[in-house]
Amino acid sequence: MAVMAESAVAQVKRSSLWTRAFESRNWLGAMFMVPAIAILILFLAYPLALGFWLGMTDTKIGGAGRYIGFANFVSLSKDSVFWLSVFNTIFYTFTASIVKFAIGLYLALLLNERLPFKSMIRAIVLLPFVVPTVLSAIAFWWIYDSQFSIISWVLIKAGLITRYIDFLGDPWNARLSVVAANIWRGVPFVAITLLAGLQTISPSLYEAANLDGATNMQRFRHITLPMLSPIIAVVMTFSVLMTFTDFQLIYTITRGGPINATHLMATLSFQRAITGGNLGEGAAISNAMIPFLVAAILLSFFGLQRSRWQQGGRD
């Protein structure tokens, strides 16, 4: 009897706990979060921490590693290929981002004009961003072919050059070629997101400026740019982030060649870690990206954010 009564009490207690859990927002919230948090901790937070650890070990594929402190970073600091990849990554990010921004903003302004078939044009413009990067990079690989490049063929027919350009065989040609492919892929993203920003600017501002006799250039400088700068900050931060950590374009078009001339830090870490089997060293290269990445994000985000409050303060 006593046992039964005890279990009945336990039953009541448990059910009340159960209903309480369903009514309490904290409990229910925690339960709703379980699927997302479980995946993100196991496959995002844990690997991020593991990456820091791996960078300080000499782990090879198929074997446990020892803790070796900063030895990986010390050997990397004497590694000219590593420094070349750092230079390449910065050059790639800097050049591609600036051109993407310039063409993207110009394209956004063009698309914001009164146009026939506007929504169709917008849909077409975004295509390079939608198509899988690796697959469009294959097309670029063929466009840059040393013997059958269509660019060389057109330039020769036009009488501008006499010999086929060796796009991917010469270090600087190769660097500029991959930058061009990256710009091609990134411009639609910048243009369409900036267009969305342009469409939120109230036309009455332009009408008022018109009445005051503002020129096109003045309207752009004093209305469009300040109104757009918060979204420019976010778009360019994302663009810099994507460009800095790019892997697919380089891996497809040049694999880091010729003689490491186009290796980015991401492709170099893949080559060392997966192809070469030195997981520890590859992880160290990945970790070395993080400070650059944080700096790039802070620079583009706060650098452009500042101009917003400057403009806002002036008003």
Partner: protein, 291 residues
């Protein structure tokens, strides 16, 4: 997203056609030409016989004299391409649905249950969005290997949500925010549970957001490359982007026709899906940036 009908300045009609042509149509046409040319070039190479492909003197490279489907046939019969296609579909669809499920629950909890610390969790999830796959793939490879998932679809189905969930959650939080609280309060008074509210009120009202997140997540997983390249080793388990790069390039001989056919056929499903849901795709892309 409200579509603005006409944001151009009122005196637009005063501009003569030749001037507008020079100022707008010509540069626009030029940019669109460069954006579309690689696709045209891909399509031309897909249907061009080898004899024409490597002879620019006798044949104009911009045109095809005798179209052929040899390259496509070769791709579908002699390689594992159909298997890659199947893997890509399975992986993209599963990881999209897993991510949507997890994100809907998480976004609802953060935005509407407002449990203790939900703001911080929301911020942490956004920071997760900024962690790029190219610094995660090495430790992830070690984890995937330890869990025994290496060289299987499951390795990709479970790791793709790491970049899909932060994105979808962030996007859905924005959509849930636009639904009036009063609707939920009414349902609560009528005795609905939180789960019922989510399924019967919040989800149907934010369906456009769920579709946007789903479409974008699907294209992101279809495009994914570095995880698939690292975690998969045998040909029959590869996805299209990885298979095209690693299996179709053998030695120094590139079969450009087959490569281009692989690129074209691999792009078509995404482009078709995109063309049906352009508005949703754009609102996902711009929404993620605007928030």
């Amino acid at each position: 997203m409200s579509t603005a009908d006409d944001q151009s300045v009122g005196m637009d009609y005063l501009e003569s056609f030749p001037r507008k042509f020079l100022r707008v149509y010509f540069p626009l046409g030029l940019i669109i030409f460069f954006l579309l040319f690689p696709f045209y070039w891909m399509a031309v190479a897909t249907f061009k016989p080898d004899a024409e492909m490597y002879d620019y003197e006798k044949y104009n490279p911009f045109w095809i004299v005798n179209p052929t489907i040899e390259h496509i046939k070769k791709l579908l019969v002699e390689t594992d391409y159909p298997l890659w296609m199947w893997n890509t579909v399975i992986v993209s669809v599963s990881s999209t649905f897993i991510s949507l499920f997890a994100s809907v629950c998480a976004a609802y909890a953060i935005e509407r249950l407002r449990y203790k610390g939900s703001r911080y969790v929301g911020l942490a999830i956004f920071l997760g969005y900024l962690v790029p796959p190219s610094i995660l793939f090495i430790p992830l490879a070690a984890i995937v290997f330890q869990l025994g998932l290496f060289d299987g679809n499951l390795a990709l189905i479970l790791t793709y949500p790491t970049f899909l969930i932060p994105f979808c959650t962030w996007l859905l939080m924005g959509y849930f925010r636009t639904i009036p609280y009063e609707l939920e309060e009414c349902a609560l008074i009528d005795g609905a549970t939180r789960l019922q509210i989510l399924v019967k009120i919040t989800l149907p009202l934010s369906l456009p957001g769920v579709i946007s997140a789903g479409i974008f997540a699907f294209t992101l997983s279809w495009n994914e490359f570095i995880y698939a390249l690292t975690f998969i080793s045998s040909s029959e388990n590869k996805t299209i982007p990885v298979g095209a790069i690693t299996e179709l390039v053998s030695g120094d001989v590139y079969h450009w026709g087959a490569l281009m056919a692989a690129a074209l056929i691999g792009s078509v499903p995404v482009v078709i899906l995109y063309s049906f849901f352009v508005e949703y795709y754009v609102s996902a892309m711009t929404g993620a940036v605007k928030e």
